[in-house]
């Protein structure tokens, strides 16, 4: 033990591992109660009470759900491509967790600050497509295949808008490191300088995480359950976990890029992470709020919005931002 802590590289790796396990545990806790909050909020928005049977106010509902998932019988279709069928749910969890490694939570709690942090996030969110596409294809079920295809087309279309909307932030911050981007927002949030990019980013974020109103991959009215029709037990649980982890990760990135990250008044540096969590809570509530407010888009509307509205607007935003920065710099 002492030998490990003497070597600086090993000590760095050791603390990274500790932080990694802490984040994984925290994520699991937040996800299970996010599901509870979602059901509770949905209930109240529709004038019902939501889960209230397991424990006081239904607070033990997530525990009951997880136990149930663990002991559910598992179906594996005979016609499925088995290896990919087993691998897809694992792939659903990995990208969300890995991209959280570059999110600066507080001035003293950043797992790692790599100089291409934003690129890592974009790369990982692209990888998220694989889980859904492969899961849908390997099930060898028509509904699952259609869900997977739709989903891949949707996610790569909105990936463009997501990627282009962040360029405006990069122009102002001049760095791809997420820590530098947060430090550049000490006085003014980038959402103030880049309102258009922020709106595009948020719309694309909803589409990337397959949340309503963009939840076409699992449109239950037309596709049964979409790409996870054939999944059951903990494999289904992993897709579910992955979806909610993605919501948390993409909200964290939105906070980092546009809403000032950990920056906020009053608190000392050691407690600044509380601002981050407050903003995260607000954004997560926003995700739930939108889900229970807007109806699902039709597929052609979805593709039109992505390709004919968001993409040109994002490109125009880059040109305008570039021109304005250049003009201000030369004055």
């Amino acid at each position: 033990m002492a030998a490990i802590l003497d070597n600086p590289d090993l000590r760095f790796a050791f603390w990274a591992l500790v932080k990694c396990v802490v984040i994984l545990t925290a994520m699991l806790g937040v996800v299970s109660y996010l599901i509870y909050v979602e059901r509770k909020v949905a209930g109240h928005m529709q004038a019902r009470t939501g889960p209230n049977r397991v424990g006081p106010l239904g607070l033990l509902q997530p525990v009951a759900d997880i136990l149930k998932l663990f002991f559910k019988e598992e179906f594996i279709p005979d016609a499925a491509n088995k290896i990919i069928f087993h691998l897809a749910p694992v792939l659903a969890v990995i990208p969300a967790l890995v991209s959280f490694s570059v999110v600066p939570v507080g001035p003293n709690f950043t797992v790692t600050d790599i100089n291409v942090g934003l690129l890592l996030f974009l790369a990982m969110s692209s990888l998220g497509v694989y889980a859904i596409t492969l899961g849908g294809w390997s099930s060898n079920n028509k509904y699952a295949l259609l869900g997977g295809l739709r989903s891949s087309a949707q996610m790569i279309s909105y990936e463009l808008a997501l990627g282009l909307s962040t360029v405006g932030v990069l122009l102002i911050a001049g760095s791809l490191s997420l820590v530098d981007i947060v430090r550049a927002q000490e006085h003014v949030w980038f959402a103030v300088y880049q309102p258009v990019a922020f709106v595009i980013f948020m719309i694309a974020a909803f589409a990337e995480t397959n949340r309503a109103p963009f939840d076409l991959p699992e449109a239950e009215a037309e596709l049964v359950a979409g790409f996870h029709t054939e999944y059951s037990s903990m494999k289904w649980g992993m897709f579910f976990l992955g979806e909610f982890m993605n919501v948390i990760t993409i909200s964290s990135i939105a906070i980092t890029l546009f809403l000032g990250g950990w920056n906020g008044p009053w608190l000392p540096d050691s407690l600044k992470f509380l601002w981050f969590f407050l903003k995260l809570g607000v954004l997560l509530f926003f995700f739930i709020w939108v889900r229970w407010t807007y109806p699902r888009l039709r597929y052609d509307q979805l593709m039109n919005l992505g390709w004919k509205v968001l993409l040109p607007v994002a490109l125009a935003n880059i040109l305008v931002t570039g021109t304005v920065i250049h003009w201000l710099g030369n004055r």
């Binding site: 002991f71 598992e74 079920n141 295809l149 087309a153 990936e159 049964v224 052609d300 593709m303």
Partner: protein, 117 residues
């Protein structure tokens, strides 16, 4: 390169967690299989064929277009980071680049490549 170690660790922990949980649950869960249960789900009706059929060419088109525009996005990142050093030259150069791509985009629209009916 040291700062990339945590990313690798995250990858390993995430894989271990997901694979471990699935493995553990598949040991516990009951498996009472039969041919009907293991057939593809088609709303309770006996499945007609399987899902290995032709799919709409539209999806391939979207994938090809994505590659085109995503490479553009990747090209914009280093430009955005170095924007202040490049000055007016960088701005004009990138404006030309975006305009050229935009002409291609208008061509796509005219060819109705982005229509879904």
């Amino acid at each position: 390169m040291r700062e990339y170690i945590p990313v690798l660790l995250f990858l390993l922990v995430a894989f271990g967690f997901a694979a471990g949980t699935i493995a553990l649950s598949s040991i516990i869960v009951p498996l009472r299989r039969n041919a009907v249960k293991n057939s593809a789900y088609e709303c309770g009706v006996v499945p007609m064929g399987d899902a290995r059929q032709r799919v709409a060419i539209k999806f391939y088109l979207v994938a090809v277009l994505f590659i085109l525009f995503d490479i553009e996005a990747v090209f914009l990142y280093p430009w955005a980071v170095a924007f202040r050093q490049l000055g007016l030259y960088g701005l004009v150069e990138m404006a030309l680049f975006i305009v050229v791509l935009f002409i291609g985009y208008v061509y796509l629209l005219k060819k109705r490549a982005l229509e879904w009916e």
